[in-house]
Subunit: 433 residues, 2 copies
């Protein structure tokens, strides 16, 4: 297992000449996430976020400011080629960029390639060939399982199989793109037959996204000990869900139209290298749980395969915004309620020879904590819509209403290191068409 | 609803100067399917099959042999741009090609661009952004449902919802690429815990694939009356399935590793235009079945939305081939055991605003007929492995063995028209690695 190591780029004493970078809550020099952006009037290209600025990697490559191996990967307006680079080349690029932004002597050549982030548009960071979503948040699986199957919340396979399913790649959108309330079939409990209309139980799901770096050939596997080498980075993922459609359609082949109308991601790829200081031990399995099968078990993964990330969800209604109220926090919790690590997810996905490709996106599934203040969906927070949430305006919410804006956020924290954030993952609900 | 009309290209009297085209069981001049091929020593490019030849569309476009609208779409080694063309442009290209191959005066300019198909390699015809698989073969759904849920074979949603789920796009391969037997978790009925190893219940599934032509924007739908305009063509699809993995992993989120290790398609896109004479009425729903919801109901679709295609499956074992025995037919049946039409599948998929893109592939699900001689999987033919099939060598098969080669075939037939075939959809099982 080769998790990236902590190096000089994580030094908490390292500061940047870029205005606003030091002390930035998401993008200090210790982060350096990659994304695809358009400057005003310009075409989409690769960039790296620092403070409130975006550094133009395409221009930097063209002007010879980057190491040779990295220069070749910024020709296209996607990060797929960057993600596919060997880990050593990705690390070299990170160290190079960190030096550019910390060394005052580099400022004259570097500063002209910085854009104000507020002036730029952000896009999907990669062409997502395939998107798979997992179900590793054990508290979520238990909570949701109880609502759908009161007597049988966790199925017998849960503690052996990192349960996952394929999702829709085409409808993944970056933060900020409104979500049109989907129409579909739902079957009211008292009705004999389904009806069609806008979803009445529109929900969010708080997840982490895992960006695949190096892929594996069809028919080959990714051993658990190598899985970390196949992860390029992380993002936030909101797996919007129409619970009424889901309840009706999901047997026997799983969720489909209940989830594929849109998924929202934070557009910055927080790299595996940046996450090095925030690696922690996977919590021990509860007493009596089975030992994972050998292809999923690695001591190094257990020792440092989890992520010290704090997650939050905020909601603002149209009325709250009209009254200039701040968003209301719906939940807050750590990301380590994952029953399986990101590496176990990757190893399982490829264990049958399924080929993963650079730029594939894997979702963790909803990351609810053990207590209601850390539940990662309205379905859980309201007990299936029974216990409504009261907003500061006095409005009530069982599920999302038109005009509601939902924002996910994540901060990686570790003693002795500078915290790094994931950036925005927000979207507003637009009325059904 | 605008299904392509029967025109002069379907004229059974139309013959071709291309040697072997007239009377060809799959690719007479009335078919003209598109694909991506490489001639000996050459790069991948678009072509059209006629008889035992492949016409080089890229070269034809470069030399001015094609209509202007079509010339622009053959720059890339995929058919996505062709599929995205307006239906009128696709039809114009078909008529142009049909004229080229039927008019002896065109022969001198056209013949040099024909390659012997036997010398060429065939590739995937499109970059498949998303692959979704459905479950519309009602006999299959009933047969499989009975094996997994004896008391409850068809779930209550089946006759309201064209049940589907997302599949894996990256592992779709054209005919001829061997299938490596996957490893994975299975739980023997008598065991307390799962074990890991090569699948012991490897199966095939006989399906049709639907190629999406024109897409729809995220948040927009495809009305059932327009759905035919969004279908570029059809292929054969073998949705290889590890039944032992499937039984253990599929609850609650559906099949995943049981199916995503590989899917095999026939590499030629049989166009919607070519299928015009083979449009038939959808069989009436059984007495007592509910009326489809309005978004799935269209009189024109019911009148001509089904396809008159005869499907067959053949198996040959290594021993059969060593003894020069012909493949054994496992089943034969018509494709109209689809409870929902291809148009209903498309309209349903986009009904929540999910965006479909040119080159997306939709599978129908296994197309079993009502009787055992037309069942589309070994799971059904052997009653879950209980009733073994005896091969001409005396070998027995409950599920597929290493070295077995499975071949799907399809022929569209209609009185007064020349039958057209789909070409090869075959693959051999390679041992687990």
């Amino acid at each position: 297992m080769s998790f990236p190591r902590i190096d000089e780029t994580h030094d908490p004493a390292r500061s940047s000449w870029v205005e606003g970078a030091d002390g930035h809550p998401a993008f200090p020099i210790q982060n350096l996430p990659y994304g695809i952006f358009s400057p005003p009037g310009g075409a989409a290209r690769a960039g790296v976020a620092i403070g409130e600025r975006i550094f133009d990697l395409r221009a930097a490559a063209q002007t010879g400011l980057l190491p040779a191996a990295a220069s070749a990967v910024f020709g296209e307006p996607t990060l797929n080629a960057l993600m596919a680079l060997p880990a050593a080349d990705r690390l070299a690029l990170r160290r190079w960029l960190s030096a550019l932004f910390s060394d005052e002597a580099q400022r004259p050549a570097t500063e002209p390639l910085l854009h104000r982030a507020a002036d730029c548009a952000l896009h999907l960071p990669a062409t997502i060939g395939d998107y798979s979503d997992f179900y590793v948040g054990i508290h979520h699986a238990t909570n949701i399982g109880r609502l759908f199957r009161p007597d049988n919340p966790l199925l017998p396979n849960y503690k052996y199989v990192p349960i996952g399913y394929h999702g829709r790649a085409s409808s993944i959108r970056p933060s900020g793109v409104p979500v049109v309330r989907p129409r579909g079939q739902r079957k009211p409990p008292e009705a004999d037959a389904p009806v069609v209309g806008p979803s009445q139980r529109l929900d969010y799901e708080l997840e982490l996204g895992i960006w695949i770096g190096a892929g594996n050939a069809l028919g080959e596997t990714v051993p658990i000990a190598d899985a970390a080498d196949h992860i390029a980075g992380f993002c936030l993922l909101n797996d919007w869900s129409a619970r009424d459609f889901q309840a009706w359609e999901y047997v026997p082949l799983g969720p489909f139209l209940a989830k594929n109308f849109q998924s929202t991601i934070s557009p910055w790829v927080v790299t595996a290298e940046a996450m090095a200081p925030f690696r922690i031990a996977q919590p021990p399995r509860p007493q009596g749980d089975p030992q994972p099968l050998p292809y999923l078990w690695d001591e190094a993964d257990q020792a440092q395969g989890a992520l010290a990330i704090d997650l939050e969800v905020h909601l603002s209604s149209a009325k709250m915004r009209a009254e200039a109220m701040p968003p209301m926090r719906l939940s807050r919790g750590p990301a380590f309620s994952m029953y399986w690590t990101a590496q176990q997810i990757v190893a399982h996905h490829a264990s049958n020879g399924c080929n993963l490709n650079p730029g594939d996106l894997l979702g963790t599934g909803t990351l609810s904590g053990p207590t209601p203040d850390s539940f990662g969906s309205l379905m859980e927070l309201t007990g299936g819509g029974q216990a409504k949430i009261v907003l500061p305006t006095g409005e009530e919410r069982a599920f999302l209403e038109d005009g509601d804006e939902l924002a996910l956020s994540a901060v990686a924290r570790a003693d002795g290191y500078v915290s790094i954030g994931f950036g925005e993952c927000r979207a507003m609900i637009a009325p059904a068409r």
